[in-house]
Amino acid sequence: MQRVVSLFRRILCHELSSYIVIGLLLRAVLMPYLIWPYDIGAYRTGLVYFLNGSNPYFYHASIYPPLVYFLTFPLFSVAYHFGFSLNPPSTLEAITESSANGAAAILQVDPWFIVLWKLPLLCFDLLTGILIYYFVKELSVDLKLPKRLFLVWFFNPFTLAISYVHGSYDIFVGFFILLGTYFLYRDSHLSAGLCFGLGTLAKTSPIFVALPLSVILLFKGVIGSWNIAAFKVNARVFSKFVVGIGASLLLFAPLFIEYSYLMYAGISREISITGGLNQWFFAADLQRSYWINQYISTIQAGFSYYPLVCLVISLLFCKFARLSPEKILFAAAFFTNLVYFFLPISLQPQYLLWILPLLVVISSVRKHFLWLFGLCSAAGFFFYLSIQGPRIFLYPLTMYTSLYKPEELVQHISTYLNAPGVFSRFLRQDLCTIFGGIGFVGLLATTVLLIKYLWVTKNDEEG
C-alpha cells in the first residue's frame, strides 16, 4: 500500500503532471464533436462487421488494418454490454436534409462513438509524448530539454488535429516506429522488431523502414573488413530483430494476409497521385496532374525499385558511415522519410505523424530538426484546413448540439468549396498546392539534412 501511495505521489509531483492534466482537458474538449466526416463512417461499418464476428475484409467493408480492429474490439465490446449501440444515429432526417445539396457526403456517427474511437488514440498520443521525454533525457545533458520537447509534441496543433479533429489512427504508427527506434538505440533488438511488426499491423509503412534497418544491423561494420566474428554478432542481432517482426505479424496472420492482399490488389495498383482532394501536394489540382497520369506506368515502375534503392543506401551507410547508436535514430528517420517519396499509396498529410516524433527526438541532438518539425507541422495543419475548409470537421457539433445549425454549416462549406482561386479553378486548390508544396519542401530538406548527418564518415568524425 505504501508503495502505491509513494508511486502516486511521485506521479503527481512529476514535472510533466500539470501539463498532462491541461493537455488531457484540451483533448477532452476536442474529442466528442469534431471528426473528419468521411473516414469515420467506414470505421463504423468495419467495426459493426468485426463486432458481429464477421471478417471485414471478406465483405470489403473496410481496408483498415487488423490491429485497429483488435485494439478497439475490447473497448467497443465492453461499451456494447453497457448499452452502447453502433446503430446509425437517430437524427437521420437531419443528416439527409443537411447533405441534400451534395456539398459533402455525410456519414455521421454518435459523439460517444467518436469518443470511444479516439480513446486508444489518446493513450498512444500520451505514450508518445512520455517516450519523447525519456528518449530525450538519454540523448541530451540539458535538463530542461526533455520537458520542452514533450510540450512541443503534446501541444502541437497539427498532432492534436490529426488525432482529435480528424480522428486518424496514424499515431499508432508514429508511436511504434519511435518505440522500435528507441529499442534499437538501447540494443533491445527483439523488442525493436516486435514494435516494427506491431506498427506494420497498423499500417504497412513501418515494414519499409524495418527492412533497410535490418540490412544495416546485419552488415554494420563488416563491409570491406570482412570481419567474420563481427558478422556473427551482427547475424545474432539481425535474427532477433527479424524474429520480433515475424512474431508480431504471425500473431494476426490470417487477417493480416487478407489485409495485405487487399492492400496489394486494391491500393498498390492505384497511383498515389491520382485520387480525390485529400491528397498531398500533387493532386491538389486534378487538372495539373494530367501529365502525371500519362506516365503512370513509368512512375509505378519507379516505385518498384524501392527495395533495391533501400538496399543500396543501407549498404552504403554500412560501408562509409560510422553507425553509432545515435545514428540509428537518424537512419530510422531517413527511411521513414523515404517512404513518403516511394510508396505507391495515397499520400495524405496525416501520414506526417509517422516521422514527426522522430524529428522531435532528433532535435535534441541537432537543433535544425525542430525547425523542420515546425515547418512540416504548419504545412500539414493548414493543408488540412484548406481541403474543404475548417468547418468540415464540425458536423457532429451541428447534429448533436444547438451551437451551429446544419443548414448554416453546409452553406458555409459550399461557399468555401466554390470560392474562385487565383491560379487554380478554386481557392481550396490554390491553398492545398501552396501548403502541400511547403510540406513537400520540408520533407526534401529533412532528407538532405538526414543524409548530411548520416554521411559523416569515420575520418570526418575522427578529424
Binding site: V48, Y49, F50, N52, G53, S54, H60, L67, F70, L71, F73, P74, S77, L86, N87, P88, L127, L131, Y134, L179, Y182, F183, R186, S188, S191, L194, C195, L198, S248, L251, F252, L262, A265, G266, I267, R269, E270, I271, T274, G275, L286, Q287, S289, Y290, N293
Partner: protein, 176 residues
C-alpha cells in the same frame, strides 16, 4: 545488475491485450451468427403457361443489414472479358472530366482484381476503340466521358450497333 528498461513492458502489454482480443474474437462461443443467403427453390411455370419463374430464398442475418436482392435473367455467363475505358484527351468531355475516367479505370481494375476478375482493364484511345469495335472483339467498353468520338458514332458512322449485336457489352456513364 542493470536496471530493466520499463519501456520493455509496453510492447509486451500491447501484445497481451491484442492476443486476448484476438482469442475472444476467434472463440466460437463468443461469435454471433453471421449472415447467410441461400436459394431454396427455383420453380418454372409449365411450358405454354408463360415465362414466370418463382424463386424461393432465405436470408438470415444478425448484422444491421440493408439488403437489396436483384434477380436478372442471364443468357450467357461472360468469363473475364477485357474491359476498356475510353480515355482520349484529344476529344472533349460532356459534364465530366477525363481525369475521372482515368480514376474510374484505376479503381475498377483494383476492385475487379479483388473480386477475382483477372482480365485486362485498360484505357483506350479513340483509335484503339475503333479497332476494337471493327474487329468485333468480345469485350466490355465503358464510355464515361459523356460523348462518343465522331469516328465511332456520328450522323454517318455507327460502329456501336454492329458491335453490340455481335455480343459486345457497352456501359455509358455521364450521358445526359
Amino acid at each position: 545488475m542493470t536496471k530493466r528498461d520499463k519501456w520493455l513492458y509496453v510492447p509486451a502489454a500491447i501484445l497481451i491485450l491484442l492476443l486476448v482480443s484476438e482469442l475472444t474474437w476467434y472463440a466460437p462461443y463468443t461469435r454471433p451468427r453471421t449472415g447467410s443467403f441461400s436459394i431454396l427453390d427455383v420453380i418454372k411455370q409449365p411450358e405454354g403457361t408463360g415465362t414466370n419463374i418463382t424463386i424461393v430464398y432465405q436470408l438470415n442475418a444478425s448484422l444491421p443489414l440493408d439488403a437489396s436482392i436483384v434477380i436478372t435473367p442471364v443468357r450467357t455467363t461472360p468469363q473475364d472479358l477485357p474491359v476498356y475505358v475510353f480515355y482520349d484527351v484529344a476529344y472533349p468531355t460532356v459534364g465530366t472530366d477525363w481525369i475521372l475516367s482515368a480514376m474510374l479505370q484505376a479503381h475498377l481494375k483494383a476492385e475487379l482484381t479483388m473480386r477475382g476478375y483477372n482480365a485486362t482493364v485498360k484505357l483506350v484511345s479513340a483509335e484503339e476503340l475503333e479497332t476494337i469495335l471493327l474487329s468485333k472483339e468480345l469485350a466490355i467498353v465503358i464510355m464515361a466521358s459523356g460523348a462518343f468520338p465522331s469516328s465511332i458514332l456520328s450522323k454517318d458512322v455507327n460502329l456501336i450497333k454492329p458491335w453490340v449485336d455481335s455480343g459486345g457489352y457497352l456501359f455509358g456513364l455521364a450521358f445526359t
